[in-house]
Amino acid sequence: MILEVKGLTKSYKKGINAVDGISFDINEGEIFALIGPNGAGKTTTIRMIATLITPTAGEAFVNGHSIVKSPSKVREAITYLPDEAGAYKTMKGIDYLRFMAGLFSSDKAEIDKYVERAVNMCGLGNRLEEKINSYSRGMIRKLLLSRAVMNRPKLAILDEATSGLDVINALDIRKTIKRLSKEEGMSFLLSSHNMLEIEYVSDRVGIMANGHLLEVGSIGDLKEKHGAANLEEVFEKVVSV
């Protein structure tokens, strides 16, 4: 098991539970998606797993390491791509990849290997020699996605992975995620509003609303359970209850 979440809770001072005792897990090579309406607690959950904020209660283990007790070990096993994230605009694309690779390894040969992998994956070609401030939103997203998987993390956490990408590029990214999962055994925790994308790419989904995890299961099981034709219908039925 790559990720094990047990009763994870995040409360704020005013007594608001942004995330309220959720539990789920992700197996090796599995693509798991968290879906839910705005304010459901998806991003807060992801931020806790990414060790950016600490849980008020509960625990989560990434590759066996506690996010509370061993956050540095967790960070070695994950990569995180926030929604609408940017990159350092004054850097060239290639320098950004090299800088980020340098955070995961101090071995030059390994850094070169990571960068080469990202260069091949992002498909930006010669544009990588240009400064990022000249990139379109889609180009930045492709750069960041390739950064997120270049070191083959145990768990890649992608918040709205394909936001800002056109149909062709988005499809390309989905295929890449599937391939990395099946061929290289990488695990993914996704968060998205795009039901079509989630249905296409995910093995299992967790439906969240008001900080609670309402349903967890494979898309096929959920559709059958709720008598729905697609994930969108499942989502509508679960959330509206």
């Binding site: 942004a18 931020r47 540095s72 960070r75 926030p82 929604d83 994230a85 955070l103 956490i157």
Partner: protein, 448 residues
């Protein structure tokens, strides 16, 4: 109707909370400065008497001083026992005098025997700021009046002038100017020394202000941009400790601050060197004709050194250290404020307190000598850590070493506190959860 709608929308965007606060603070600042300057000018305007110490007990000198009002000079006689140039500084300090004209004991003897008489002018330099700038116009007027009196007196007594007598009438007396500061007295015109010190004391704080403001804005924008672009989230979820990230940011900021302060100090050294023309600056004083040596050119910078008001290498180093700590405070405060930012507008709002904290003491110290202000005003100003940078040169020049050192210690403690908060913010959820009071719900959500 459409125009009204558009106008309403434009005004609501322009008249933000920060714009309104900025307007009121600027207005308040100008009012305060106006009042301060007004009371200073009033003080100068209402005090038209010139203090004169007459060491000459003759009737001639007494008559002359009585008659000076006819020449437009109001004399206020001061009585001091055992006055000499060595005790001048102490006398000025004890009697709370800014300027003192001294009529030497042999004044009338010289004047009546057809020799050029001497008059000495002593001026106390006590601080910096426009309000402390030496105004020697009253002394100059007094000396002119004495000269006119002597000339008129000579003309009425002498018939059939020799060449020497004509020369004496053209220049019946000589003036020697002395300046006192830090309990010492040196022979040099106070107006020259004051002018030099003032120009140094105006340029340096101005440079500090711009440097502080620019450096703080730079680090604040850097942090807020990282937050807004979410590059900070990417960075902090990578296998690098938060302390490492913070230390790298602070070290980079400190290096930039250090480079800035070094560059500034080099520029400042060239500025001073440029003014001195390679080490000396002289002003001509009247040539003496008798045993009293009033002769020659006076080395102003030598005089400044004698008075202890020049900026030695050691003092420059201390000013550099002061500047470095000030910049480090500015940067750490900017780092903390930048962590509150959620968008470009909030960044602008957050920079305001820093802007005012740097601008207000800058404006006040430009006009006023903080050390001569009432205790409460002085305390309030010195609580603002940036004030110490603006007053550093003045405090070191005028022997307020205790105030300077106290300020430095206070700044170091202040820096420690701000650093503590910066570390706390960076190592806890605060970095992602804290927000400005009054921030919109949408903004708050985007942070959660």
């Amino acid at each position: 109707m459409r125009f009204g709608n558009m106008l309403k929308k434009e005004l609501s965007q322009l008249l933000t909370k920060q714009a309104i606060i900025s307007m009121f603070v600027t207005c308040g600042l100008l009012m305060m400065l106006g009042k301060t300057m007004g009371s200073t000018i009033e003080g100068i305007a209402t005090n038209n008497d010139i203090n004169v110490l007459c060491l000459d007990s003759s009737q001639f000198a007494s008559d002359m001083l009585d008659k000076l009002s006819d020449y437009g000079t109001n004399v206020k006689r001061i009585d001091v026992q055992g006055f000499s140039s060595d005790t001048a500084a102490q006398t000025l300090h004890e009697k709370d005098l800014k300027v003192l004209v001294v009529i030497p004991a042999d004044f009338s003897e010289k004047a009546e025997s057809g020799k050029q008489a001497d008059v000495e002018v002593y001026t106390l330099m006590s601080g910096t700021g426009l309000a402390s700038m030496v105004d020697d116009s009253l002394a100059s007027d007094c000396v002119s009046s004495i000269e006119s009196y002597l000339r008129d007196n000579a003309e009425s007594n002498i018939v059939g002038l020799t060449e020497d007598q004509s020369k004496l009438i053209r220049k019946p007396m000589l003036m020697a100017e002395f300046t006192s500061a830090n309990g010492r007295t040196a022979k040099a015109p106070a107006s020259e020394l004051s002018g030099i010190l003032m120009s140094v004391n105006m340029i340096a704080p101005m440079a500090v202000f711009f440097l502080l403001f620019m450096a703080s804005q730079m680090i604040m924008t850097a942090i807020s941009t990282e937050k807004i672009d979410k590059t900070l989230e990417t960075l902090l979820s990578s296998p690098v400790s938060r302390i490492t990230v913070l230390t790298a940011k602070m070290t980079a900021a400190v290096i930039v601050a250090l480079l800035n302060s070094l560059t500034m100090m080099v520029g400042f050294a060239f500025y001073i060197s440029g003014m001195t023309g390679g080490g000396t600056m002289t002003v001509n004083m009247p040539t003496g004709t008798d045993e009293v040596d009033l002769s020659g050119a006076v080395d102003v910078f030598k005089a400044m050194s004698e008075l202890g008001i020049s900026l030695s290498a050691g003092k420059l180093a201390l000013v550099g250290l002061e500047l470095f700590i000030t910049l480090a405070i500015g940067l750490s405060v900017a780092l903390i404020l930048g962590a509150f930012a959620s968008d470009a507008q909030s960044t602008q709002t957050l920079i305001m307190p820093l802007m005012f904290a740097t601008m207000i003491p800058f404006m006040i110290t430009m006009f006023m000598d903080v050390n001569s202000m009432p205790f409460i005003a002085k305390a309030i100003l010195y609580i603002i850590p940036f004030t110490h940078a603006y007053t550093a040169i003045g405090n070191l020049a005028f022997g307020h070493t205790g105030v300077f050192i106290g300020g430095l210690v206070y700044q170091i403690l202040f820096l420690a506190v701000t650093m503590f908060f910066a570390v706390r913010i960076f190592t806890t959820d605060l970095l992602f959860t804290m927000k400005l009071p009054g921030m919109s719900k949408t903004q708050a959500k985007s942070q959660n």
